[in-house]
């Protein structure tokens, strides 16, 4: 019952008016960046890292949690209204969702995605409450060698499974490790790979790397291939579902959640596989097989639930082991570090209130998402019409601002450009990233 008490305390902390406001900002911001092409939750959290200098940790994490869940939800809006999924995990949603939208059922598709997000997110977060403390209690008993082994396993698993080329995954991992080497060797105090620049002796800030690869590299890559004519957005009213839609959605929702969470919690599960599994299952079980490929609501509900449940599952290794299995989790861990909090198995012991507030705010954020996004859907659809030059110029602007504000060093901007170009080159050679 101890965890339950902590959770209640977390709710008490998260439900103060100020923190609710942060949750609301986070959810709105997260949905906006999820809807907008080119930026994702990882980059948004990275850009907001400077607020960690001035805002209470709990407030910052409440906002980050809102951005994380909001981003997952916003992605589905884009793939339903615009037939081009921004991330691999919403490819499946785009298949049926966009067909539904074209058939004039955009409102139902969005509604089932929103409700699916809510149900899967809530169940996923409940499972997180059950599993994360247990995993962390187990991890505390492990020694450093076992912990190193888990870390290696996670790194290797992520590089091998995500993306489509194992070779490219491994080279990315090695490049990342190489970047991590820059700075002073902590045991002997010698500068390593710093090019003799004293500014580099603290290492390269993760914000700079994250923003460079996720924002700058991405924006340059899009600039190289920009579609000159705007994509077609399907207009939509307020999402709603009829009785028949509910009847057809609720089982896929639960099954999708059951697929998504365990995959998310595994170090390399990701969201692609469970969304695909969910789609195949629903196609097999559906009484309306003929509708698949033409806009079947089951094909939106199930994969969308799987996607969101996997997002919740990702937080299990993040909170209990300190292991990031996607980009957003990695940046959130960086935020822990910048507060002087060591993420890892001891997190639940050393910072119980903060951790449980974060978990409680996931429940709150999820509910806010449902309440806000049903009426706001037409607005998000309008956001999709942002002229692309402004969108990408804005991304460049905020990327520069975010990387610069960390240390106020022009050198960081030079690093941003170097790693941004590296990101562009990797994209060109068939590398991909995982939001």
């Amino acid at each position: 019952m101890d965890n339950f008490n902590w959770l209640l305390q977390g709710f008490a902390e998260a439900a103060t008016p100020m923190n609710l406001l942060y949750a609301m900002i986070g959810v709105l911001l997260g949905t906006a960046v999820g809807v907008l092409p080119g930026i994702g939750p990882a980059m948004t959290v990275a850009l907001l890292l400077p607020i960690t200098y001035n805002v209470e940790p709990s407030a910052a994490f409440i906002m980050f949690a809102g951005i994380y869940y909001g981003g997952m939800y916003g992605g589905s809006t884009t793939s339903i209204l615009l037939n081009t999924p921004g991330e691999s995990s919403s490819v499946i949603t785009a298949i049926e969702g966009n067909k539904m939208a074209k058939a004039g059922r955009a409102a139902q598709a969005l509604a089932t995605a929103a409700i699916g997000s809510f149900v899967a997110g809530t169940i996923g977060t409940l499972l997180l409450v059950l599993f994360a403390p247990a995993v962390s209690r187990f991890a505390v008993t492990l020694g450093a060698p076992s912990y190193l082994a888990i870390m290696l396993l996670a790194l290797v698993a992520v590089t091998m499974v995500l993306g489509n080329s194992k070779l490219r995954g491994i080279t990315s991992l090695l490049l990342g490790l190489a970047i991590g080497l820059v700075g002073i060797d902590s045991l002997t105090g010698q500068p390593r790979a710093t090019f003799g620049l004293p500014l580099l002796s603290d290492g390269i800030d993760i914000v700079v790397i994250a923003v460079a690869v996720f924002a700058l590299g991405e924006a340059l890559w899009v600039a190289a291939h920009l579609r000159r004519r705007p994509a077609e957005v399907i207009p939509v009213g307020r999402p709603w579902m009829g009785k028949e839609d509910w009847k057809r959605s609720w089982m896929p929702l639960l099954r999708g959640t059951a697929y998504g969470f365990p995959f998310g919690a595994l170090p390399a599960g990701g969201a692609e596989l469970p969304t695909f599994l969910s789609y195949v299952t629903e196609k097999k079980l559906s009484k309306h097989k003929e509708e698949f490929g033409k806009g079947a609501i089951e094909g939106v509900a199930g994969p969308e639930a799987a996607n969101n449940a996997s997002a919740a599952g990702t937080l299990v290794p993040m909170l209990s082991l300190g292991l990031p299995t996607n980009a957003t989790a990695a940046v959130m861990l960086a935020a822990f570090v910048s507060y002087g909090i060591q993420p890892g198995p001891t997190l639940f012991d050393k910072e119980p209130l903060l951790t449980w507030t974060l978990i409680a705010s996931l429940f709150i954020g999820n509910t806010l998402l449902l309440v806000l996004n049903l009426p706001l859907a037409p607005l998000w659809a309008k956001l999709l019409r942002t002229p692309r030059p402004y969108l990408y110029a804005g991304i460049l602007f905020f990327a520069t601002l975010g990387a610069f504000a960390v240390n106020l060093q022009p050198l960081d901007l030079a690093l941003l450009l170097v790693f941004g170009l590296m990101g562009l080159m990797m994209r060109r050679s068939g590398y991909r990233y995982c939001r």
Binding site: T171, L177, T188, A224, R227, L396
Partner: protein, 152 residues
Amino acid sequence: MCAVLVLVGAFLIYDALSLAGGFAKVDPVGPRFFPLVIGSDLLVTAVILGVAIARGSVGEADAGEDIDPDAPSDWRTVGLLVAMFVATIVLVEPLGWAITGALLFAGSATILGSKRYVFNIVIGVVLSVGSFYAFYSGLGIPLPAGILDGIL
């Protein structure tokens, strides 16, 4: 891509060899170990990747909302954007964030094909001055004011 891997790998090994070793008592692994391992792994994977590419391995390009993967790469746009960015790095301290940021936004929007030049600048100024004050009073981070020091 292979060239980058070789470059990074070779640099790591060169740098590692220039470090003093022999701290065996406090640190049996030593500061050289990881750079050497990672550097040589980079060289090995560079060779493998080179062979794979030569044998026709092409990474599958990721789809994106605004990407037309069939269009040829538009290097002019990318080059101009990079030039814009270099200018930002050089100018941000002397001119200050408010001016450089506005130039960065307006310049990039123009390069990316926005034809409403005045409007581009107006948005740029609003964004950069707005973020200057938001960071200054909201977050307590003083972005450089540059030549506008005292006015802003």
